[in-house]
């Protein structure tokens, strides 16, 4: 680990001014991703701004009938909130399928959204990786098999987002609210918070270094069944090989792109009356990558859509 300065933010303004003053700084929330990466020297911030004690952990009703979840609400608290469980079960289930109890007790809303890919070559500082060291090459391409992107990959990077939660947030049309040191507040859909890699895979999002996530806002839930399914090599404590979130007539796929992937082609096909399997196939028409992964996603999405129509909540 590289030596670094540690600052504890007293309030949001203090956090923002610290960030503006130290361009190499990072916000520290639960630390479950950032500290691991620092120990491996994959992240090397010169300053850590601990935002963990800022009063941003509330979950409250919005005027529009949705919920506003503070950036520092822990994954455990969000997943066990009765309002989330009854109105947004897909979100509760997605969160609970991630990491482990201990990690979820520490992990925050903001940190979960901003967690970095778990591509094993990204995680190994000795390997070429364009995301970690721009221009060094991509070891995942032509490397040992793992979950790589079916959608939106570039010749420079095919890493997938590791966040389960964000897939459910994307299907629920959630938005992220941020604030910068200059006071500007912005809202972005979770769906497009993350960039596709293009020729700059080292940049995960277009958040500015001094931009702090304040909250995630959920609009009222769409009508219809909600389903979450995550495919994985063991029953817990491992990232998805693929996941799917269904809410009403919306479908999002996980672990298939650098961002949670709203399956717009599937949604359009469903709206046009296509059968679930045809609708799933419609999205995959634009996918690149391994046949086996494509067929997994096709089967999974199709099955989850069918289940949602039975009102299912698995």
């Amino acid at each position: 680990m590289k030596p670094f300065a540690f600052e504890r933010a007293r309030n949001v303004d203090h956090a923002l001014s610290l960030a503006a003053a130290a361009p190499g700084a990072r916000f520290l929330a639960g630390g479950t991703n950032l500290l691991d990466l620092m120990k491996l020297e994959i992240e090397q911030p010169d300053t850590l701004i601990d935002v963990g004690r800022l009063p941003l952990a509330d979950i409250s009703e919005t005027a529009g009938g949705g919920l506003r979840i503070g950036a520092l609400a822990t994954n455990s608290v969000v997943a066990s909130d009765p309002r989330i469980r009854s109105r947004y079960p897909v979100l509760a289930r997605a969160i609970l399928s991630g990491a482990s109890v201990q990690l979820r007790n520490k992990a925050s809303m903001g940190g979960n959204l901003m967690q970095r890919t778990r591509c094993s070559y990204f995680m190994d500082p000795a390997m070429p990786c364009n995301k970690r060291l721009p221009g060094s090459g991509c070891s995942a391409m032509g490397g040992l098999s793992q979950a790589t992107a079916l959608f939106g990959a570039s010749e420079f990077c095919a890493a997938v987002s590791a966040s389960d939660m964000s897939v459910a947030l994307a299907v629920l049309d959630a938005e992220v609210e941020t604030v910068r040191a200059d006071g500007s507040v912005r809202r972005r859909p979770v769906e497009t918070l993350h960039r596709l890699p293009g020729d700059a895979p080292q940049v995960d999002t277009d958040l500015a270094p001094d931009e702090l996530i304040l909250a995630v806002e959920l609009p009222p839930p769409p009508s219809g069944g909600q389903v979450w399914r995550k495919v994985r090599a063991r029953a817990s404590y491992i990232g998805a090989l693929a996941s799917v979130a269904v809410a009403g007539d919306r479908v999002a796929l996980g672990a298939v792109a650098a961002r949670p992937w709203r399956a717009r082609a599937t949604e359009a096909a469903l709206a046009g009356g296509a059968a679930p399997s045809e609708a799933a196939e419609a999205e995959l028409a634009s996918a690149s990558g391994e046949v086996g992964r494509k067929s997994l996603v096709r089967r999974l999405a199709s099955d989850a859509i069918q289940e949602s129509r039975k009102g299912g909540r698995s």
Partner: protein
């Protein structure tokens, strides 16, 4: 030398009058461990403030260090010294032995400019804090001259050579027998490279006391570590005091010492300060040993009634180029089923990767994943029940050498297991049982694992406070050795457990071979028992010869031990009183065990039968265990709770082998794909539902005086095969490439049009 006949006489353990033997006593150190108060090697108290070492690892698989500059690291904040092969202190050449009786030769760290595998140590940094030591790593400049490296096992399998010093075992004429068989199976299985993935990394704390070095290290074999370090430093072994009190998992991976031990000792000498060195999680994967991948071709030939006529298991495995090791995946097959025509053997591929070595149940663990599935395929082809097929081929004597079995309850294991598991509810037609989107199936397999007894000693002191303290240069790697040795000592001396102490893991104590090969309990335990018997004789003689004893003048042979007393008829005296009269240090004796002269006249194994029920997700190909049950026979059980923990823990290893665990060498870089516990997938709690085991009543009087055998590795054997067979029964796909991950299962389902 004793014979097994001497062992058959009743003794305090077999009589078990106070009932300590078999009792499910909790591990005495369990509370210390779960409360974080058991000091592991990295955490022991030091005589003064310690320094911290960090090892820098090679990032090429083969070649040489053309240039290395550690000076920038040496001048970094907090750094005390930095070494490469150019400036590390002198060590003896690899393998050198000053003392020809050393169990291990020199094991130098940073010994030369040669790089023989990715992850090999190439530099060392010593600093005031672990953070400063690690942070200085990026200031080391290394230029490598890489050479071509052989990295991909798969592409060298066809050119595999014979295993050194070994020949194929042939009985009868396999080829003729096979081709004359009415029903045959010929298939090939693959078990991947696996890592031990212990929780506690290799770690050492070292300091010097004059010309003697004290090392606390995490190692399974006390003498092996002591000798390796002494030879490396070129000093007599009595100048190395090695301690290993608590070990956070070994599984064979800590059967030897690594560079943490050597570099801690060297750096402590150089700095004059205590030094702590631990491997990083990545180094645990990349710089310690692993279980090699194994390809296994099995051919079975039988008649229509299922009687085996011919059987072959041919294994190809790999090892590091300069560190020969053979994963004996075919050996167990020699003793399992009767068949007149037999062929078993091993071929070896040498690669430029980290060293292959022993991992829990070496040989059987991957080996049984092949033959036990081949038997299932044969049963299927014959339309026979897999248990009936095995019973038909149950041998009367060991099929390898015609020796009688000491005791073999394999058939009973299968029958009791079938009954308790509900095997009769299995539908033999694959794919016939559904539960929602899950295919559900059952499978079984047998388990066999050798039993061993090695020479060992122990010391025992009885003090005036009535406390018996057993001392032994043995290790407890988390299996419960401390606890069972206390039970044995208590039962032998008629003392309650709270009057027995056990001290292990110290090279100054009477030596035992350590933990490995499931020989630990039988070996260390038998030595403890014999030492207890020496103590009984000694105490009886003391009483008989001491006018102050109520037993004065009586025949020592007739005296008995119970409830902390030595007893004859209605006269008795407490052991405490007897010991306090013997002198200020009480009474100390040593004892030992060695294999019986005729021990090899019997075929000695532990056995079991494994049953699994799995679900296969028809949509995604995910396999999930639904329940698992095993019945085992492993001699007399010393502690029902600990034995069961060992057995079920072993079964869980088998679940990992079948479903999740594997590592792979990147053919471009020579590094392992997975280098942490988040990526290397051992089963987690959620994977293990409803798993249980029972141990049959048994005593093996040919094994040792207590009639006990090992349980540490048996549970793994056949466990994964039962799961693979259940997967077939569930959905009708035979997958022979472990682990059975969702991608492989799904591809197979799709190939069947499912």
């Amino acid at each position: 030398m004793s014979t097994v006949r001497d062992w058959a006489a009743p003794n305090p353990i077999t009589e078990n009058r106070s009932g300590l033997i078999g009792k499910p006593v909790d591990r005495y150190e369990g509370r210390l461990k779960v409360t974080g108060t058991a000091p592991y090697a990295f955490e022991v108290e030091t005589p003064s403030t310690p320094l911290y070492g960090h090892i820098v690892s090679a990032t090429i698989p083969r070649g040489r260090i053309a240039a290395i500059d550690v000076s920038q690291a040496a001048s970094a904040a907090g750094v005390v010294l930095a070494w490469s092969h150019l400036d590390v202190p002198v060590q003896a050449q690899r393998g050198a032995k000053l003392n020809p009786r050393s169990q291990r030769g020199s094991n130098p760290a940073l010994g030369s400019d040669r790089v023989e595998h990715y992850g090999q140590s190439v530099a060392f940094i010593l600093a005031d804090t672990p953070e400063n030591a690690r942070a200085a790593e990026s200031r080391i400049r290394i230029t490598y001259e890489a050479s071509d490296a052989d990295l991909d096992f798969g592409s060298f399998i066809d050119s595999a050579g014979p295993a050194p010093g070994e020949e194929d075992a042939r009985i009868g004429d396999f080829e003729a027998g096979y081709s004359a068989s009415e029903v045959t199976v010929d298939a090939t299985w693959f078990s991947p490279l696996q890592n031990h993935a212990q929780m506690e990394p290799c770690a050492t704390t070292a300091w010097w006391e004059g010309d003697k070095v004290v090392v606390h290290t995490s190692i399974q074999m006390v003498k092996g570590g002591q000798h390796a370090l002494a030879e490396t430093l070129g000093i007599p072994s009595d100048r190395v005091h090695l301690l290993t009190r608590y070990i956070g998992g070994g599984f064979g991976g800590k059967g030897q010492s690594y560079d943490d031990l050597t570099l801690a000792a060297l750096a402590a000498r150089e700095s004059g300060r205590p030094v702590r060195v631990a491997y990083t999680r990545r180094q645990m994967f990349q710089a310690t040993i692993h279980r090699p991948a194994v390809q296994m071709r099995v051919r079975l030939g039988a008649d229509k009634t299922g009687r085996l006529n011919a059987m072959a298991l041919e294994a190809v495995t790999h090892c590091a180029r300069n560190a020969p090791f053979v994963e004996h995946a075919a050996n167990f097959a020699r003793n399992l089923y009767a068949a007149p025509h037999r062929l078993t053997g091993h071929r070896l591929v040498r690669l430029d990767i980290p060293h292959a070595g022993a991992m829990r149940a070496p040989g059987e663990a991957p080996g049984m994943l092949s033959l036990e599935c081949a038997m299932d395929e044969l049963a299927d082809r014959l339309g026979m029940d897999p248990i009936a097929l095995r019973i038909r081929n149950e041998p009367e004597v060991d099929p390898d050498n015609a020796k009688p079995f000491s005791v073999r309850q394999l058939v009973r294991c299968m029958q009791e297991g079938a009954q308790q598991f509900g095997w009769d509810r299995r539908n033999p037609t694959p794919g016939a049982v559904r539960d929602g989107r899950w295919y559900v199936g059952m499978g079984m397999a047998t388990a066999i694992r050798g039993n061993f007894l090695l020479p060992a000693k122990a010391g025992l002191r009885l003090t005036g406070d009535g406390l018996a303290t057993l001392t032994q240069g043995m290790t407890d790697i988390g299996t419960g050795t401390y606890t069972i040795l206390a039970q044995i000592t208590g039962e032998t001396l008629g003392l309650p457990l709270d009057q027995v102490r056990v001290e292990l893991g110290d090279s100054n104590m009477p030596p035992a071979p350590g933990s490995g090969g499931q020989f630990g309990a039988a070996t260390a335990g038998s030595a403890a028992f014999e030492t207890g018997m020496v103590m009984r004789r000694r105490l009886a003689e003391l009483a008989a010869g001491d006018p102050r004893s109520p037993l004065y003048g009586e025949d020592p042979m007739l005296m008995d031990f119970a409830n902390g007393n030595i007893v004859l008829g209605n006269r008795s005296e407490s052991l405490a009183a007897l010991a306090s009269r013997a002198g200020p240090d009480g009474v100390y004796v040593e004892g030992s065990i060695s294999p019986a002269a005729d021990a090899r006249d019997w075929s000695q194994h532990t056995y079991g039968a494994q049953f699994a029920e799995v679900g296969v997700d028809s949509v995604t190909g995910e396999v999930r265990l639904r329940r698992m049950f095993g019945v085992f026979a492993a001699g007399r059980i010393l502690n029902a709770k600990l034995a069961k923990s060992q057995i079920t823990g072993g079964m869980i290893w088998g679940v990992g082998a079948a479903l999740t665990e594997s590592n792979a060498v990147d053919p471009r870089y020579g590094s392992f794909l997975h280098q942490d516990l988040g990526g290397y997938l051992a089963p987690v709690h959620a994977d293990i539902v409803n798993l249980d085991a029972v141990l049959l009543d048994e005593a093996d009087d040919k094994a040792n005086p207590m009639g006990i055998k090992g349980v540490g590795e048996l549970g793994i054997c056949g466990s994964g095969a039962a799961i693979a067979n259940a997967v077939y029964n569930a959905c009708g796909v035979r997958l022979r490439d472990y682990p059975l991950t969702p991608d492989k299962v799904l591809a197979a389902l799709e190939a069947k049009g499912l």
